[in-house]
Symmetry: C2
Subunit: 490 residues, 2 copies
C-alpha cells in the first residue's frame, strides 16, 4: 500500500526509479565532428557540457546516481566512463552492454532484466543520451506524473508539441477525453494512435490539427510491465529474455548471455511494443526538447548572432547569413554564405546547405566503404589516463602528442613491431624501461627499443605532454602487449 | 644595318631580347593556397608545373636563359631560386630586386637599367610570372612581330580578344587603319586609345563592338625607348633612374641604389607611360591567355568534370555543380553545392560563392590586422636544402617534420633559446654536434643542447626525413646564428 506521507512517498519512488541512458548511437549525423567511435552524445551542444553529461545531470533530479544504468556497447562504454568519471563509483557496475546492436527493443529488455534483478518493483525512465532538454523543473514534473501512471501499469511516453511539419519523427495522438492523471498543469492521457513518420502533407495536417504530438523517444514504465508487454507482442524477443534471465540466475558466464542476446531480432520499442500495446499513455510536456538530429537542427538549440549565424572557433566571416560555421583550431573564412553548414575538423571538412545536412550519413557511408579512417575516429583519442593526438603519419613512422593526467599512467606494455622516442614538452614523466625506472623533465628524452616492456606515468600535479615518434614496419594500435593496467584493459 | 640572312637576323634578335619576369605578386587572391610568402606564381595552375616555371619555359622560346631577368623582392627571390633551380647557373646574377614595392613603372625602369648595362641595343619582353598562356607557337609568333615593332621604337602591348564583359581589366582600342607590321596571320597596329577599367555597361559595349582588346600586361620594347618615354612622361621617376645609373656606373654600394629606389613614387607602367605615349602599339594575339586573377577564373584554365566541377585532392562530392573544391591531404565532403569555391589547406579553409571570390583579399587584410600567421606563410616552408612542416606548436615547444634533399645540408648553426631533438624517420642523416660528426639511420635519434653548434646533412641518395622537437622559451625562426651556409644566407 502506498505511503500517505507525500515526502516519504516521493523518496520511496525515487529509490525505485532507474534512469536508463540509451547511449549506443552511431555518430554519423554530426560527422565530421562525430565519428563512429565519437558519437553525438560526446558533443557539447546547447551547453558547455557534453550531451551525455547533460543527460546524466538531468536524470539526477529524478533518481540517485547509483540507480542510473548506461545502455551501450563495449567500445563506447570506455569513452562514457571517461565522460561520467564524476560519478564513477556510483556507476561502476551500471553499464548494460549490448554485445551487438539490435535496435531499442532488445536493449531496453536487457536493461529491464537488470532493473528487475535489482528491484522487483523497479521503474524505468528511458532517455536517449544525446538529446537536448531545456527546463529542468518541467522535466522533473513530467517524469513525476509519468511515474504515477507507470505505477498503474501504463507505458508512458512524453509528447512534444510540434513546431514545424517535421517528417522525420513519429507522431502520437492522445485520447484527450480519458485523463489518467494530473500534476501541476500537466495531464496524462491514454494514447489513441501512434503514427509512423508521415509524408509532408500529413505532417502539415497534424501540425494544423493541434492534437498530434511528436514522440520524443523517452519513456517511463515498470520493468515488469515492459517485459510483460514484450511477452505479449514480441514472442521471439520474449524467448531471448527468458533465456537471459535463466542464464543470469544460474550465474552463467557473460559470454553465454551475449550469445543469447545475439539471437534477438533488431526491432525498435516503438514499432515492436508501443504501437501494439493497449497500455500506452502520453504526457504532453512543457519543457523544450530537441533530438538535434542533424547539423541543421542546431538552429533549435544554439545561440545565433544578429545575422542568424552560429559561429564557433576561429571563423573570419564576411556577409554570411543564417549559417552554421564550426572551426576547430584552424582558420575558416566564409564569404557571402546563406543557409549553409561549414564544419572543419583536424582531418575532415564538410560543406553543404542546411537542407542537405541529413545527407552527411551518405558521406560517412562512402568513407566507410573506402576504408577511410575519417569515418571511424578523430585524430585525438580519449583514454582513461589522458589522450593522444596523431600529428602526422607516413610509411614507417607516426608522430603523436600524448597527454597524461596528473597521477595517470599508461599500462605496462611492449610492442613487437615498433620502437618509440619520447620527448617531454610539458610536465614531468616517470618512465619504466625494462628494469630501469627514471624521471624526465621538459626537454629531456628517452628511446624505447622494440620488445622492451615500458610504462609512462605522470607523477606530478601538472598535466604531462610528450611527443612520441614511432618507427617500425607496423604501427597499428593493436600491436600492444599489456602486462599491468590501472583501468582493467587487456 | 640589319642582317639580310633571316636565320642570322633571328639569332641576333634573340641574343638581344631580355625577357623580364615580373614576380613580385602579393599572393592575396588565391588565399589560402597562396600566401604573402607563397604568391600565386608558385601555384600549379593549368599544368603540373608552377606558373613561374611555365613562364620561364615560355620565354625560353624567345631568348636564351642567361638573358632572363627576374624582377622581384628579397623574400620572394629565395623561393624563386628554388623554383628555377633547373636554370640556376644562367640566372645566378639575373635577379633584379626591388627593396620595396613601387608598382610596375619603377620595377620596369630598374630592369631597363640592367638590360641597358648589358646591351645598349637590348630589347625587353616584360611578362608577369603568374599568368596562363596556351599556345606556345602563337606566343612566339606574337613576340617576334612585337620585336620588329620594338625595333622601330614602339612600345608594344599584346591585345587579348575579350570573351566576356570583364570590368577588372583595362581595354585597348587599336587604330586598325595603320598597320605597322605583319607576321604569319598577325598584324601590329598603332594604339588609338587606352581605357581604364570600365563599368559594366561600357564593358558590354566594348565586347559587342569587337574593336577593343584586353590589356594583357605583357610588353615588348627597347630598354632605351622605355627609359626615353619615362623621361618624357614621368620626370620624377626619370630623376631616380638617372641617380641609379650614376650610382651603378660609379660602383656605389647596393644600399645607396636601394635608397634611391625608395625615392620613386608608386605608379603603374600603364597609367604612367603607356597611356601617355605616342609610341604605343598593339599586336592582337591568337594564343589563349588568363591572368587567373581569382579562384573563379580557374574556370578558364582548369579541366572540369561532367558536372562542371573542378575537384582536386580527397574530395567526397555528392551532387555538386559548377564548383571548385580544392582539398589537400584532408578529406573535404561537399553536398549539393552550386557555383561555390571550397579551398582547404593544412591551416586554413575558404568557403565562398564564385562571384564573391574577389573578396578573399578582404579576408587576408583581416588576418593581417589580427597578426594571424595564416596570411603570411604555409605550415610547409620551402628551403634551398628541402623543406620543413610545422606539425604542432604550443607554449614552449614546436614539432616539425624536416625534409632534406639528397646531398643537401642546412647551415652550421646554433640557437640561443632552444634545444632540439631529432629522430630519423626515413633516409640517413649526418649530424655535426659541437666537435662530433656522426651518422643516424631510421629510428635513431640525437639531442642538440642550447648554444651548441650543429648541422644536419643528407649524405645519401634518398630523401632524409626527420622529426624535430624543439623546446625552449622562444622558438622563432630568427633565433639562429649561421656560421657556414651552402646557399649564401646570413
Amino acid at each position: 500500500m502506498a505511503d500517505r506521507n507525500p515526502q516519504r512517498r516521493e523518496a520511496e519512488l525515487k529509490s525505485r526509479l532507474f534512469p536508463v541512458i540509451m547511449a549506443g548511437g552511431s555518430g554519423t549525423r554530426f560527422w565530421p565532428v562525430s565519428r563512429h567511435l565519437f558519437p553525438k552524445q560526446l558533443l557539447r551542444i546547447g551547453s558547455e557540457d557534453t550531451l551525455i553529461r547533460q543527460t546524466m545531470r538531468r536524470v539526477l533530479g529524478c533518481a540517485p546516481a547509483s540507480n542510473v544504468l548506461i545502455s551501450t556497447n563495449g567500445p563506447q562504454a570506455e569513452l562514457i566512463r571517461i565522460q561520467l568519471a564524476d560519478w564513477k563509483d556510483d556507476l561502476k557496475d551500471n553499464y548494460v552492454l549490448e554485445p551487438e546492436g539490435r535496435n531499442t527493443a532488445p536493449a531496453i529488455a536487457l536493461a529491464a532484466i537488470e532493473v528487475l534483478a535489482r528491484n522487483q518493483h523497479g521503474l524505468m525512465l528511458v532517455v536517449p543520451a544525446d538529446h537536448v532538454v531545456t527546463g529542468q523543473r518541467e522535466f522533473e514534473m513530467a517524469v513525476a506524473l509519468a511515474t504515477r501512471l507507470a505505477e498503474q501499469d501504463y507505458l508512458v511516453t512524453f509528447g512534444i508539441k510540434p513546431i514545424r511539419p517535421e517528417t522525420g519523427y513519429g507522431y502520437i495522438k492522445p485520447d484527450e477525453k480519458t485523463v489518467l492523471g494530473r500534476l501541476g498543469g500537466l495531464r496524462g492521457y491514454r494514447v489513441r494512435q501512434f503514427v509512423e513518420k508521415p509524408d509532408a502533407a500529413k505532417a502539415a495536417r497534424y501540425l494544423k490539427a493541434g492534437s498530434y504530438y511528436w514522440n520524443s523517444g523517452m519513456f517511463v514504465w515498470k520493468a515488469a510491465t515492459i517485459l510483460d508487454e514484450i511477452r505479449r507482442h514480441q514472442p521471439g524477443l520474449a524467448k531471448v529474455v527468458d533465456q537471459i534471465q535463466q542464464l543470469t540466475a544460474t550465474g552463467a558466464p557473460a559470454s553465454s548471455v551475449d550469445e543469447a542476446y545475439r539471437g534477438a531480432a533488431s526491432i525498435s520499442i516503438d514499432t515492436g511494443v508501443m504501437e501494439r500495446s493497449s497500455r500506452a499513455a502520453m504526457v504532453p510536456v512543457s519543457f523544450r526538447w530537441s533530438d538535434v538530429g542533424s547539423w541543421g537542427s542546431l538552429d533549435e538549440v544554439a545561440v545565433k548572432n544578429k545575422a542568424g549565424n552560429i559561429l564557433t572557433g576561429r571563423v573570419v566571416d564576411l556577409d554570411c547569413n543564417d549559417s552554421i560555421v564550426y572551426a576547430d583550431r584552424r582558420v575558416v573564412a566564409t564569404i557571402g554564405l546563406k543557409d549553409m553548414v561549414v564544419v572543419d575538423t583536424p582531418d575532415a571538412t564538410l560543406v553543404c546547405p542546411k537542407h542537405r545536412a541529413q545527407d552527411v550519413k551518405k558521406v560517412v557511408e562512402i568513407l566507410k566503404r573506402q576504408g577511410a579512417p575519417e569515418h571511424l575516429e578523430h585524430v585525438t583519442v580519449q583514454r582513461p589516463w589522458g589522450s593522444y593526438t596523431v600529428l602526422e603519419e607516413g610509411p614507417g613512422f607516426k608522430v603523436k602528442r600524448v597527454t597524461v593526467n596528473p597521477g595517470g599512467r599508461l599500462s605496462l606494455q611492449l610492442h613487437h613491431k615498433r620502437s618509440e622516442h619520447w620527448v617531454v614538452i610539458a610536465g614531468r614523466a616517470r618512465v619504466t624501461r625494462g628494469e630501469e625506472v627514471f624521471e624526465l623533465g621538459v626537454g629531456q628524452s628517452t628511446a624505447i627499443p622494440v620488445e622492451t616492456p615500458h610504462r609512462l606515468e605522470n607523477p606530478g600535479q601538472e598535466t604531462l605532454h610528450i611527443i612520441e615518434v614511432q618507427n617500425g614496419p607496423y604501427l597499428g594500435e593493436d600491436d600492444i602487449v599489456r602486462f599491468k593496467d590501472d583501468y582493467g584493459r587487456k
